[in-house]
Symmetry: C2
Subunit: 702 residues, 2 copies
């Protein structure tokens, strides 16, 4: 039964894509507004496409090199031949998901601005639909890709007996993860550097120095800023969550074999994901409200969609687990549910720490009274303090899913439970991502409204949509961060399984000492604990440097272009786009290489146990740091907005200027370094899994 | 032989104290300057003594409660009766070391200002001598205390056979560590909050808002600022390094038993430390230079003292290891040497990242051109990037000392090697601390010079001394941070030994699974990885809050006291001292309790394996975060100074204001949260060791 229902995976993928196509066409039917609006939207679209084309070209070189390396390993017998190919397709589909999402977003933003002229609800409709396209494309492509490969591999290995067959299939599928993660890391880091360099740079000169509003057309960085939203927050996020989604499924599938589940163990996460896609489609129909709805009603509408999908999944998963894994394994169901609930709860903690409706961000806003230094100290404190609850929640999910699944008596079963809790957490991704991805569209719509001098009421509406997006994005971050930690743990377990299975196949005697008091593993732990810090240093300083170039360029244009400040001349927007593009291309290489090279180096110079330490250390620190950076950034952003609402002196007061400093520091925190960490910790594990065989046989210290 | 030479430990302690007394008397012979200077020095001394008295009173309550708890555990049979007493004496001597150091410093600062009127070298002589008093008192009291206890315990357990005797002795000695660490944490956190609240608060109003110089007598926070230097940077640092010193020795001693060394294994670190004291005394005689020496010559003089002491120790340790542990264990000698060298090398990396003579801090200064936000992003990046080398160095020391000591064939021997590498690193503490502790004295001397309107040349000289102190402090930080990581690792090993030995004694069957894939340990790792972040959040936000109170108070005085700004009226200094005192008292409780309660809670709710995870996770993150915070803070400080030297616009330019924001954020980083982390990670382990027996028998999940 499980094997035949596996067809649901590609089928749901196709259904999701078709529904996304339907949504996309309905968005494109909307009016794009005035010629001015079209012109601006066109400029943003062109900039974004040009950037993405260049980024993909750069990434293609990396993929080509890795392909050759993997091919060489395959020829040397360390890998099966599917691996290099799967690496490519994983990367390709991750990039494709980001590209489609971005393409939709750039077409939807002017239409959202136009629709917001009619009403808030109309604006929401357009923006949300384009977000839903992105959400559905990400999950559908992910699942379709996995489903098709499953059938190809199943056909290829048909001569093998079932156990060996499924083991070979899941090993190969792990490699898609490496392709997807590599692509995602480039997209997040490159896009993140682009968007925040443009954002920080143009804000520093425009808002802080020149005292002109955000998105003012006199600011030369303003188109780059809007391009950045699309290449970073949309394309980068798409590639990122594609990676999370695929990663959680393949990691769980890889653990199915040692858990003793075989094919049903692989089918469970895949069919669960298929159910998730269908539930997301149903959920989108619940996101609607009256024409004159208030902002709070809109939030209710969004949440209704998510909760409907969650309930469908929670019910379906029960029957799914019972029929696939048997009623003796209902603990697996509770693991799924634990993940599903935990994702939401982490989201709530994020909201608590970052929303100006609650104490922490309000207290942070008050620190602005004593200047930027206290704002920075306060924001870092909020972020650091906010790590406690997510860690406790993830810890609880690990223990619950491990022990409820029966880990006390069957260790590998428990690990499978941990793995599938991440799949449960991400099962609603189709719709949660929709509520998340519409934010940048609304943000862009606001920019277009500002630049094309629409009625200020329109800007107010797009701002309301944007603010709503910040709240739903908080939940989205909960899912992304929580699932990253759980998936990374599953991958470490998969890494161990991989080592054991390689040793078995080659008749090698292998005693793995994964104890924290094994000095090599301990050194690995330290190195892993340090890696996320170095990674953040590289990405943040890249943003800082690129932002400085933008500052200098915008200042230069203010100085040299006559009549610019008076609105008589136009700035040279393309120049800033170009500066960001080149900076992002140049600066994304080092941090991405870190993720590939460090595990190989540690494995080669020390041994495979040290790599286990490295992965664990990086997962722990990466998770904590990611939460901290996301929440510090969010709190700064909203503290600034809270002051802009008229508190502590309001806009242009000294406290506001101090809060802007916090917000500016928070930009690379929450949109460049923080979200990239989620990818980093998984990519490290993926690389280690793929190279396990090589490292096992070639490490200097065995 | 080893047993009889153990007498060197208390003997060297007494010798060190006598020499410190001689130095102190020579400092006190110097002239204290004008009546105005005496009056200011008196005010600072009074404030500092009053604070310390209050702090010790608060801490006494904690010690009383813990004493009762430990006594109850002893009565219930979980601990031997020495433990509660040893806990008290450990805390007492740690506090005493801090008190003596502070007392000396407050008496030396006006004398340093007076001496600096004659020449730079005279100023150095006085300041360095008072630093040397502190350095020698810390190591001498530490070693004397351990030595005396050793003889008491040895006498008490004389009826036992040698193996059981030494095992009982080392177990009890570990408990001094817990007392010393608790005291140190309070002193560092409380003193750190005091000093940085005063510093940040008075700078924010004085330098940034009112535009008056640092230490200007019109600023109401200025006395509190100078009091803070004494209670934080002097008394706090003294208690802190006392803890490091004692901790490294007792942790190594605890590992001596399972390494199979018995008494000689305990004698080696203690006699090594005794040699270190004598070497430090010799070293002080090398710190002198010509009367008209330049700053660089002074740095040479300081380094000559340290290197002389290092060479003496390196030579003596060779013969010591050979005669105590036999020529078959010369690997232990190389471990000592690895530690000694590594401390210096970490110090060099600190200097590289934080001195304005090198690229990173210069590049950071340049970010000030684009405002405070880029300064913050830049400084965080420098700090994060700077974690790489110290982690690699500590990793190398762990592997070198483990394998050179013979860990490949005898695991426990390797761990002993790791432990003694920390003792080697700290063996020069008597003199390195002297070169470190004179900095705050020079800083205070500058404040007194400013407040009593001495010739600007004097202030320039004390600034030069202070700058020199920053360089030597960088090295000092290398030793403190590096040794903390190594000692914490030894303590985790000691924790495991303790569990095994308890189980053996009580006939319990114990299978410890310290694998990173043990879910309970893994959850512990996550919790441990998060703990330093929460700890920093608490301490930093405490500084932020207290600084805000100071800002408001200083602003109020400027507003309400007529004629203050014109220099016609005096501000109410005592009020600011009082605000800082109360804030520090109130705010130091929560972070300190965290260190005690979390390991107990984790051990009780989960099990002893989860505690091992907690300790490991906290050590990894705590170490990395401590390095980051120290170096970010140092880089910001020196980038600001670099701009003040006239670069990028110099004092009062916009870049300078931006750099001041960085420096202000860096203050709690480098002087409150960062150094406290070193203590935190050890205290967590100490608590776990002391409560191991209780947790082993009472954990909910076994």
């Amino acid at each position: 039964m499980a094997e035949s229902l596996m067809i649901l995976a590609p089928a749901a993928g196709i259904a999701g894509l078709l529904f996304a196509l339907y949504l996309a066409r309905s968005v494109l039917k909307y009016d794009e507004g005035t010629d001015e609006m079209k012109r601006i939207a066109e400029a943003i679209r062109e900039g974004a496409s040009a950037y993405l084309a260049r980024q993909y070209k750069g990434v293609a070189i990396f993929f080509a090199i890795m392909f050759v390396v993997l091919l060489a390993l395959a020829i040397a017998g360390y890998l099966v031949f599917f691996v290099p190919v799967a690496f490519l397709t994983g990367g390709f589909f991750s990039g494709l998901a980001g590209y489609i999402g971005m393409n939709m977003a750039t077409r939807a933003s002017s239409r959202t601005a136009r629709a917001a002229q009619s009403s808030l609800n109309q604006g929401l409709r357009v923006a949300f639909s384009s977000g839903a396209v992105m959400g559905l494309v990400v999950v559908s492509l992910g699942l379709l890709h996995l489903g098709v490969w499953y059938y190809i591999l199943n056909w290829y290995y048909q001569a093998l007996e079932p156990a060996a067959r499924i083991s070979n299939i899941t090993s190969a599928m792990l490699t898609f993860g490496m392709g997807a993660s590599s692509m995602a890391l480039f997209a997040r880091v490159g896009g993140g550097i682009f968007t925040k360099a443009a954002d920080v740079g143009s804000d520093l000169v425009g808002k802080v120095e020149a005292g002109i509003p955000e998105d003012d057309p006199r600011n030369a960085g303003v188109i780059a800023d809007n391009v950045g939203d699309n290449v970073g927050d949309v394309a980068g996020m798409g590639a990122d969550l594609f990676e999370s989604y695929v990663g959680s499924i393949v990691a769980t599938a890889a653990l199915a074999v040692s858990a003793g589940f075989g094919v049903p163990g692989v089918a469970t996460p895949m069919v669960l994901a298929a159910v998730g896609i269908l539930a997301a489609i149903v959920g989108t129909f619940f996101v609607r409200s009256g024409e004159q709805a208030e902002q709070s009603a809109l939030l209710g509408a969004l949440r209704r969609g998510v909760y409907t999908a969650s309930i469908i999944i929670a019910v379906a998963a029960f029957f799914l687990v019972r029929s696939f894994l048997g009623s003796e394994n209902m603990g697996i169901y509770w693991s799924i549910l634990a993940g599903l609930v935990a994702g939401n709860v982490i989201g709530l903690t994020t909201e608590y720490y970052t929303s100006s409706s609650y104490g922490p961000t309000r207290a942070l806003a008050k620190t602005a009274l004593t200047g930027p230094a206290t704002v920075i100290i306060g924001g870092l404190s909020v972020g650091m303090l906010s790590t406690a609850l997510p860690v406790v929640i993830v810890g609880a999910v690990v223990l619950l899913s491990f022990f409820l699944s029966g880990g006390a008596t069957n260790y590998d079963l428990g690990l499978y439970g941990v793995g599938i809790s991440a799949v449960g957490m991400l099962s609603t991704l189709g719709i949660t991502l929709a509520t998340d991805a519409y934010g940048p569209v609304a943000d862009n719509a606001g920019g277009i409204a500002e630049m094309s001098h629409l009625d200020p009421e329109v800007r107010k509406r797009t701002d309301a949509l944007d603010a709503l997006g910040n709240t739903t994005a908080a939940t989205g971050k909960g899912f992304a961060i929580g699932s990253a930690a759980l998936t990374a743990l599953s991958l470490i377990a998969a890494y161990r399984d991989q080592l054991v299975s390689i040793a078995q196949k080659s008749g090698m005697k292998l005693v793995l000492d994964f104890s924290v008091l094994n000095p090599k593993l301990l050194v690995g732990l330290f190195l892993g604990g340090m890696l996320p810090f170095v990674f953040c240093a590289l990405t943040m300083s890249a943003v800082g440097r690129a932002a400085q170039s933008i500052v200098e360029e915008v200042r230069r244009q203010f100085r040299e272009i006559k009549g610019l400040m008076e609105g008589l001349a136009r700035p040279d927007y393309a120049r800033c786009v170009d500066i960001c593009t080149r900076a992002a291309q140049r600066e994304m290489v080092a941090p991405a290489l870190l993720a590939i090279i460090v595990p190989l180096l540690v494995g080669f110079l020390l041994n495979v146990e040290a790599v286990a330490g490295l992965l664990t250390g990086a997962t722990v620190t990466g998770f904590v740091l990611a939460v901290m950076m996301a929440n510090s950034g969010g709190a700064w952003d909203n503290a600034k907005k809270y002051i802009e609402e008229g508190n502590y002196g309001g806009k242009r007061s000294d406290p506001h200027k101090a809060a802007v400093v916090g917000d500016t520091v928070g930009d690379p925190f929450k949109d460049t370094s923080g979200p990239s960490l989620n990818i980093l910790i998984k990519l490290l594990s993926m690389v280690s899994v793929v190279f396990a065989s090589f490292l096992l046989q070639n490490a200097l210290m065995k």
